[in-house]
């Protein structure tokens, strides 16, 4: 096995003392970046990138990729504790993670999130190690129609998710699409819905919307409900880690499903955020007790975290082999590779063996060390919930504002965040679901571009969506998922009718 030999050499490179040091520094910085909403892995890596130019490229990429792992781990922390997703891919984690924290099960939720992240990443790295050449080829099959099919699949796996009335879900989703359409339209090169305001040029950034809708919205609701966190009684000890691990084994199906979804989405490259939504949607569909989702089901934390981490890790593969980044952070790392004098592409694996295998080995080590670091901190994170609300609330608002500012270094974004906060509060009061809005905001733009690119390619012929087995298969699965809830409802209806008929006899 060539791969095993190369990997062992890679471990030799990664396990030197300075490289281990860089790994730790990277992980700790990454966790911090992940915790601060808005800063984000991409920004964090971009800020630190220039510092690494004088370093040896292998050490530099080890440190930077560890920042990335750290941020993936850290994103879950604020989602669970405060309902503020530190990263876009942690949005789905809030659905069940935050209710768990409110029930005093924060430590359990954090342990589940970190462990799932680790499992997702581990399997994605295994896939990269042994299947890299094969997977890289597969990514080339993806043109605009295939991308649209994947995005359609994400939407369809999420439809019927919310317990709110379908019309409210639809309304929220349409609002999300409308917000996503503001700003530059890549296909025509024209500005849309900016109404002549230069502040609207850049459109609505997903992160700012999410920080406002979830973070600020939650604080407003809590203030109304009496200035207290509900998760105060959190038990704080290390035993909870072992206990949670014991329980997690029964969710092996969810793990496998989410790993597959995540690897798929990372390589194609759909990205970690859609992967987390799809992972959550699929887990809920497959579960027997669908109603417990959104009320603090551990599976609702496991599914999105596993998928997001698998996708985040797998996203590095198309970057290394094709030079297309599967995520914004990967895009920044790509810039780094070029500056260090390494040209990503099909030849990187041949020309820069030390570098590639050092990086892959650091993925294994970084994740193991990362898991250890975050698990030991679980009790301290959970203890934050014991701080009285009047003390912590201003701190959270401050962190949110800094986060919103960091995204584009623009003060208008902070105002925008507050507006979204009020919107989030209103949504909660009027019982409109936030998830469809967020999903449409993050995917609407991409789905629209892919659809219109496909239409340009085919000169307006919809046949392009079933022109080959790949796009046809994806579309078929998407449509099947879309009508599955309707089928279930129909069956219920028939059964009811039968029993009614029975009664009448």
């Amino acid at each position: 096995m060539d791969e095993i030999n190369s990997l062992m050499q890679g471990f030799g490179v990664a396990l030197t003392l300075p490289n281990l040091g860089f790994m730790m520094v990277g992980l700790l910085l990454g966790i911090l970046i992940g915790v601060l909403p808005g800063l984000g892995g991409a920004n964090g890596v971009a800020i630190l990138l220039p510092l690494t130019f004088s370093m040896n490229p292998t050490s530099a990429i080890i440190m930077l990729s560890c920042i990335y792992w750290g941020a993936l781990f850290g994103g879950a922390i604020t989602s669970i504790l405060f309902n503020i997703p530190g990263e876009p891919w942690s949005v789905a984690t809030t659905f069940d993670g935050y209710p768990m924290a409110q029930q005093g099960r924060a430590a359990e939720a954090l342990t589940a999130a970190f462990t799932s992240s680790f499992v997702g990443a581990l399997f994605a790295v295994l896939a990269i190690t042994f299947l890299a050449p094969l997977l890289a080829k597969f990514a080339l099959e993806f043109g605009p129609p295939e991308f649209f099919a994947v995005q359609m699949l994400t939407f369809c796996s999420f439809v019927g998710m919310s317990k709110e009335p379908p019309m409210k879900t639809l309304a929220a989703m349409m609002l999300g699409f409308a917000l996503a359409a503001v700003g530059m339209d890549t296909v025509t090169g024209q500005l849309r819905m900016t109404f002549g305001f230069t502040e609207m040029l850049k459109g609505f950034d997903f992160l700012i919307a999410v920080i406002g809708l979830f973070g600020i919205g939650e604080i407003l609701t809590t203030m109304e409900e009496g200035l207290a966190f509900k998760g105060k009684s959190a038990r704080i000890n290390f035993r909870i880690v072992w206990q949670t691990w014991g329980q997690l084994f029964q969710y092996w199906r969810t793990f496998i499903r989410s790993v597959l979804i995540g690897c798929w989405m990372g390589i194609t490259p759909g990205g970690a955020t859609p992967a987390s939504f799809m992972g959550y949607g699929m887990a809920r569909r497959a579960a027997k007790d669908k109603d417990s989702f959104g009320k603090g089901n551990v599976e609702g934390v496991v599914a999105p975290e596993t998928a997001a981490h698998a996708a985040g890790t797998a996203a590095l593969l198309p970057m290394l082999t094709l030079g297309i980044p599967g995520s914004p952070t990967a895009a920044v790392l790509l810039g780094g590779l070029l500056i260090w004098g390494l040209q990503p592409g099909p030849l990187l694996f041949v020309e820069q063996k030390d570098f590639v295998w050092g990086l892959i080995a650091s993925m294994y080590l970084g994740n193991i060390v990362g898991l250890f670091v975050v698990l030991t901190t679980v009790p301290w994170w959970a203890a934050i919930l014991r701080i009285p609300f009047p003390v912590i609330a201003p701190v959270i608002i401050f962190i949110c504002a800094v986060g919103a500012y960091t995204v584009h270094s623009s003060i208008t974004d902070v105002v925008m965040m507050l507006v979204f906060g009020v919107l989030g509060y209103l949504f909660k009061k009027l019982r409109y679901p936030l998830a469809p809005l967020v999903l449409a905001l993050v995917l609407g733009d991409m789905a629209e571009s892919s659809f219109r690119q496909s239409m340009l390619m085919s000169q307006g012929n919809v046949n392009i969506f079933y022109a080959n087995w790949l796009v046809g298969g994806l579309m078929a699965v998407a449509i099947f998922l879309l009508f599955l809830p309707a089928w279930g409802a129909l069956k219920d209806l028939l059964r009811k009718r039968e029993t009614n008929a029975h009664l009448h006899q």
């Binding site: 004088s54 530059m184 090169g189 895009a331 500056i339 030849l347």
Partner: protein, 336 residues
């Protein structure tokens, strides 16, 4: 003059400036006294972003500035966000911006109010080249064969992928259309990397990627370079693929295609800054150009290494603007 500056600095020192600042700035005309914001009017990972981050790295490594250079991406509205910020920061010498062709194309296509005359030109760093690429498995060995195939087919049979809409890639596509006399379907994508991969995956027939975006695929034998859109062939003679160097790619003109286009990679400052402040940055980039790292970067991306400052630079930008107005008018890309 020296005395006057010194007196001014005394005054500033009295206002709370540090003694260190006083010492260094009385020795030289002007130096930044706080971190300099380096605005990139495009997203992370693209050509302008790569160059900006490279500059940030080498300037820090060789300590060419006593204050850090901080790269900030302001890509909203096809770069309008970044340009408007520089336009609005009158007299602020701690902000610079790197350009791509959207300096001309964005105001023309979207009518967002800014123009290079609203900014202070500092220097041209380099010109980015464009190459016509096809998949290595395609039957077209030369640019002429490819254009003949477009001529022979019906309208919209051939698909060109490019970055953005109504920007440089689409302008070049319109030039090719004119040469062939048939319509080419232009499919816009977000970044140059995506565009190259679409061609490797055979989802489109050709691209006009910048050299740096397609180099790896070319070297890997996946793409074929047909012609370069400059007046003369590229100067880089080192073999990139087994058979070819950048210098072996013929010009499009020589293949009978009237397509000549280069993209400005230049630096601008906000309006209302003093000549001393402009001189500081001009000297800074002159020093950068002498570094071996810069030369390596230029060769890797097969850049045209023309360097201009002052009036030469402003005149070049004015001519290039006129060219864009003409090309975009012909293509019907100007906002009404």
């Amino acid at each position: 003059m020296r005395i006057k500056t010194f007196a001014l600095n005394r005054l500033l020192a009295a206002l709370g400036m540090t003694a260190a600042f006083l010492g260094s700035s009385s020795a030289m005309a002007w130096e930044p006294s706080k971190p300099v914001e380096f605005v990139v009017p495009a997203g992370t990972g693209g050509g302008a972003d790569q160059m900006a981050r490279f500059l940030q790295g080498v300037i820090a490594k060789h300590k060419l500035m006593n204050q850090p250079l901080v790269v900030v991406n302001k890509s909203g509205g096809a770069g309008a966000e970044g340009f408007l910020e520089i336009k609005g920061a009158k007299g602020e010498a701690h902000k610079i911006i790197i350009t791509l062709s959207n300096l001309f194309t964005t105001p023309l296509a979207t009518a967002v109010p800014f123009n290079w005359r609203d900014l202070t030109p500092v220097s041209m760093l380099a010109l980015d080249e464009f190459v016509l690429w096809v998949n290595a498995d395609s039957p077209y060995k030369t640019a002429k064969e490819y254009v003949d195939a477009i001529k022979a087919g019906p309208d919209n049979k051939f698909k060109m992928a490019g970055t953005g809409s109504k920007q440089e890639d689409q302008i070049i596509t319109v030039m090719l259309q004119k040469a062939a006399g048939k319509k080419i379907t232009f499919i816009p994508f977000k970044g140059g990397g995506d565009v190259a991969v679409q061609l490797v995956g055979k989802h489109v027939d050709s691209t006009v990627n910048n050299p740096i975006e397609a180099e790896a695929h070319w070297r890997g034998g996946k793409l074929r370079a047909l012609c370069v859109m400059d007046a003369k062939p590229l100067p880089y003679k080192k073999k990139v693929t087994a058979q070819q160097a950048w210098s072996d790619i013929p010009t499009c003109q020589s293949a009978g295609i009237d397509a000549e286009y280069v993209m400005l990679r230049g630096i601008f400052m906000p309006p209302g800054v003093s000549p001393e402040q402009v001189d500081f940055y001009v000297n800074l980039f002159k020093k950068v150009r002498e570094l071996p790292e810069w030369k390596e970067f230029m060769e890797k991306g097969a850049f045209n290494q023309t360097f201009m400052t002052g009036k030469d630079y402003a005149d070049w930008v004015a001519r290039n603007e006129a060219l864009h107005v003409r090309l975009m008018k012909e293509a019907g890309f100007i906002a009404k």
